[in-house]
Amino acid sequence: MTIENSSVQVLGIDAGGTMTDTFFVRADGRFVVGKAQSNPEDESLAIYNSSVDALAHWGREVDDVYPELVTCVYSGTAMLNRVLQRKGLDVGLICNKGFEQVHSMGRALQSYLGYALEDRIHLNTHRYDAPLVPISRTRGVTERTDVQGKIVIPLRVEEVRQATRELVEAGSKAIVICLLQSHKNEDSEKLARDACKEELKKLGADIPVFASVDYYPQRKESHRMNTTILEAYGAEPSRATLKLVSDRFKKHGAKFDLRVMATHGGTISWKAKELARTIVSGPIGGVIGSKMLGEALGDENIACSDIGGTSFDVALITKGSFAIKSDPDMARLVLSLPLVAMDSVGAGAGSFVRIDPYSKSIKLGPDSAGYRVGTCWPESGLETVSVSDCHVVLGYLNPNNFLGGLIKLDVQRARDHIKAQIADPLGLSVEDAAAGVIELLDLTLSEYLRANISARGYNPTEFTCFSYGGAGPVHTYGYTAGVGFKDVVVPAWAAGFSAFGCACADFEYRYDKSVDLAVPQHGTDAAKIAACKVLQEAWAELASKVVEEFIINGYKAEDVLLIPGYKMQYTGQLNDLEIISPITNAATAADWDKIVEAFETTYGRVYANSARSPELGNSATGAIMRGTVVTQKPVLPEDPDGGPTPPAEAFLGTRPFYRHKKWVDAKLYKMELLKAGNHIVGPAIIESDATTFVVPNGFETTVDKHRLFHLKEVK
């Protein structure tokens, strides 16, 4: 129901490289989207401008709405860009002596991270990026701790003092300390940290010190070192940016505490200690938004699919939770951050289409037209066919209403290019060639989606597929057809879904710690109890870190809901699985058995039962603690039922539409004017300014009260 004077409660911000989107949600579930050009110099200004744009739809003012807001979540690419452009802080690095080049060497795999499959094997294309810390600001100190945590060579503390002096002299604005195996025994690194701080004090140098054990005490030094450096190099400058944003909000009367979307899928305060984990945030928003919609619809297994111009991102929510990857890579760096597990394939709605000169096969991507759409936009200057060209030629897209009519597309120009570049070489008509490209892309996406589900041991019939991203709804039918999903859902706000999702995220901190607990298959009760003790201690340590973060933001310890987890593998394996703990407190042999049982169940599902190896015993490799507090989230719209027949004013006419070797007339509808309960049978195309939802023959869709479109195959 629409309430005219409903208050505005939630603001989601997606500050991208070119545009800054704001997404405001009222208490009645109505929302508006605002856009403004991004301003890297002062992001707060772009957010303000975008807010003005959004609120104009409701005829309201910033100064009058900001004080009403209870929740505001920021996501953006500023930190990522700072890292990619190597515009971070001048950091100094203290590592073990004899390992001074380890960071600048990087891992060899960083020379092909982010590459498409074919370039990964094409050796001469590989390259390294510049290290975040140059060798000239790196110093080694004598120390070695072994893999079991025993100190083999004690720290020579005087070398730390000397290194500190040299790094300050070399112009360091922050000092990072990362010693080998410090995740296993933190003593040497803490000793080094304290000595470094003392020396800085003596020098009167007011610069921060980042010890890896205080941030990311996890195995794999290249990941841990990169991440701790990132904290100093990129996150601290970002904190300054966020402060500007927060200050501007305050100036306009805001009372909320600004939160930032983080890689682990929760939001954290901009004052949080570990800000590096906000390096990637936008794409995660979609997963969080899907999770919340799933909860509203009663779906606990969701396949999230986000199709943008260059890539297709897939994430799975199973039993109401998403998976976390603990050593991901971002910005071509291996990192040690918990990241919502997403898999991407480099094919999207704007991908270029070419005929491979050697195999004469159709090649999609890996590069894409991006904002230049395709050859159908004469001003783009493009000569290479893109997927969008195919869509325009086949009547999927309205050439006169692209981005709400912002640019006009030239169908004939696209036809000519498709004919010359694709159709003629394959001996096909322009229509069949264009349709072939789309079928191929959709197949790639649907196979990818299916493979991702089956790789985790599930069947698509157990899943609801959410499809979003600006270009998502054009492809939804194509990549979901035949997969057998329980339901396929397209939100009316598909184009602003990431910003929406960010606003849905819990206020949640998550901390991880490596542990090494091995218990044989038929271990003694004493061994199990001992293992539980260590795990429980780790949980307690992490829990205090989590609670401490909330206290900074004015919460009380009892407000925090703690969710323990762990990582486990068969002893000797190198890959662990993350499990949400079936117990909140580990103490007894029976507790250990429950921990193992939960692992066995998950393992058998992921890798097939035949791959289970209980005879090897089980090792817990990591302790995890998540903590959340209650926050205001966007409310979904609740519209009255308007019956199955769309209102006359929503019908815009028809357009020729080509699929399965024939032209048909597709009915056109204006998305915003459709009512809850409306039922549309394909061929139909539902248009809004930011997105186009295609419902071809053999498909039908219904709008529900939350303004979600459910797409169905008609058998």
Binding site: G98, F99, L123, S136, V152, L180, Q181, H223, G482, L574
Partner: protein, 774 residues
Amino acid sequence: MNMLSNTETGFADLLKNGQTLSQFRGDVIERTNTTGYYNGLEKLELRERDPIGYEKLFSKLRGGLVHARETAKKIAASPIVEQEGELCFTLYNAIGDCVLTSTGIIIHVGTMGAAIKYMIENNWEANPGIAPGDMFTNNDCAIGNVHPCDIATIVPIFHEGRLIGWVGGVTHVIDTGAVTPGSMSTGQTSRFGDGYMITCRKTGVNDTPLRDWLHESQRSVRTPKYWILDEKTRIAGCHMIRELVEEVIAADGIESYEKFCYEVIEEGRRGLMMRIKDMTIPGVYRKVAFVDVPYAHEDIGVSSKFAKLDSIMHSPCKMTIKQDGKWRLDFEGASRWGWHTFNAHQVAFTSGMWVMMCQTLVPTQRINDGAYFATEFRLPKGTWCNPDDRRTGHAYAWHFLVSGWSALWRGLSQAYFSRGYLEEVNAGNANTSNWLQGGGINQDGEIHAVNSFEASSCGTGACAVKDGLNHAAAIWNPEGDMGDIEIWEMAEPLLYLGRNVKANSGGYGKYRGGCGFETLRMVWNSQDWSMFFMGNGYMNSDWGLMGGYPSATGYRFEAHNTGLERRIANGEAIPLGADLDPGLHTYEQSIDATSLVKRDKQCMTTEDCYANHDLYLNYLRGGPGFGDPLDRDVKSIEKDLNELFLLPEFAAKVYAAVVTQNAKGVYTVDAAKTAARRAEFRKERIARSVPTREWMKEERARIISKHASTPVQHMFATSFALSEVFKNEFKTFWNLPADWDVLETELGVPSYGSKFRMDLSLMPDVRTIVQVEE
């Protein structure tokens, strides 16, 4: 009755067409040979009729293969499989020709294909039978496997009771129960020491491994835990792919699927020819590669005295690129196999080569056996790459295989350069290895073996427009990675004391090769421990192009009785970090003077004991350079000096750079003074030079008087004995007298095996598969 049933002894009709697999395969070969098109497919009917449908099939199958590999590899415990990705899954048609393969070490496209063909030609269908749910295991080097540590699981795929294909999965295991530990050991001289050898054995029925196999195989190796998880990895992957094929057939029909399985190979054949046509210039390219086999040294402990011999392996290659894009690779003149583990089966060569080619000539997902059909191989029988004796050892076949391929890469680069594809040029790339291997009782008190895959990050060859990449890739793996120290320390009872770029290891040139790197290890927490070295020592396998230098040669450093325990406790100097200038012996200054140190060029050793606090330097030698070093940009020299990639002495000697160093240790290269020095340098070069004909005269005299070291003579003697053609070419080139010859018998070295040899094909009831011109 206690005897085999009819179907087991007789004809199984697996194809439901009245033919045996061998008959059917014979027909395909026949059609291929008579028409020149794979299986006679002059027209790709499915593809031409429905290009989109064909691409969809491709996309589904390839995507599924890649995904199966990614999922299955997480089961493994071995860092070789899990971190280094040493596993690969491949889909075959019914006769064992590769349709598509996953990512990974794609050498196994052909090696598993050879195993399938061996089963086909030796009537496995009658006995032991081939049925749905069966699993076969193979690692036999005499029928095509590269080295015994590559274990393959092969699963037949049936559709409605009819055999329609196979899927194979391979992992590189950490130990094969050879005479010495580690996956590629050197302590044995023949197959009988290479470890557990399995010949296409049926190891599972009804998708379940047989218990006798599980018991026998696990106790046949040193590391059963890794072994069993590797096996589970392979089985899980194969079954995922079999399921994928079933789904594809359900969706697209058996007819399309089977058509695809043959057309895609013909397409692959054409694809390679088109690339060769597009990127190269027809003609004959002659290249050669060598590797030393320094087995006379006291640190090579082998059981056979006749193996104690310093020799050189020889791989001359004549690459003929034809106008139609076909090419022929002829290794006439290669030296004989030897009593070491560096021999290779013909399939290891013909199949393995693609692991390199797909990094440069065919960097595509569309690689399959079509590439093999577009290539003519000539590997003369009796050579190291096609042995004629069933006793040969193969555990470290890679040692010379990859060295031999570096010659191909140089040949191709010359062709790219001529054609103008400067970006594709690579001066030969890198297999400048040391393999740290060993075993014993580890930090957990278990019998253990190690095999460090740091060697997968050698440093790459220079390109014609840029330097090689430091400490990245190896010629056998473009996706090489040195891994995390904290992971290797879990697998090895060795404490790292340093990991650094190896200065001066990238070959000098206008564009230098990528530098290798080095790690210093201290034996730590072991109970009984042994290690050995296995790397390039006296000779380089890759040489550089167009004036570029080779990468560095090898050396070994090991130290015992170091006194480090006491030195650490007392806070005394200890060796940490790089052996920056090996000539300075800096490590020796931080260990006790009474230490036993081995610092020499003997880079091949066998298992030796190490106590805790002993030292071992693992050093990768980098890649070769491109172009004249005098053309190198001075700023690049300066940068290399300041990043410790280059020692000042060599900046002056090789690059003719005039270098100064300020009080803070920062190097500067003076551009004007360097230009002047380079002008002088060029004059000095001219002063030193002699006309080629003069030089040849002197060389000829040395050849006639046999003024060459015994290993060089031995190498030529074995090449000449195998090839009159090569001997005559050599003699004609040097204009030698008619009666000139070099014979093994005159060299005074062991020549066991030089006269009498017995090939596997002579064994009763064995049909070997020959896929090359011999």
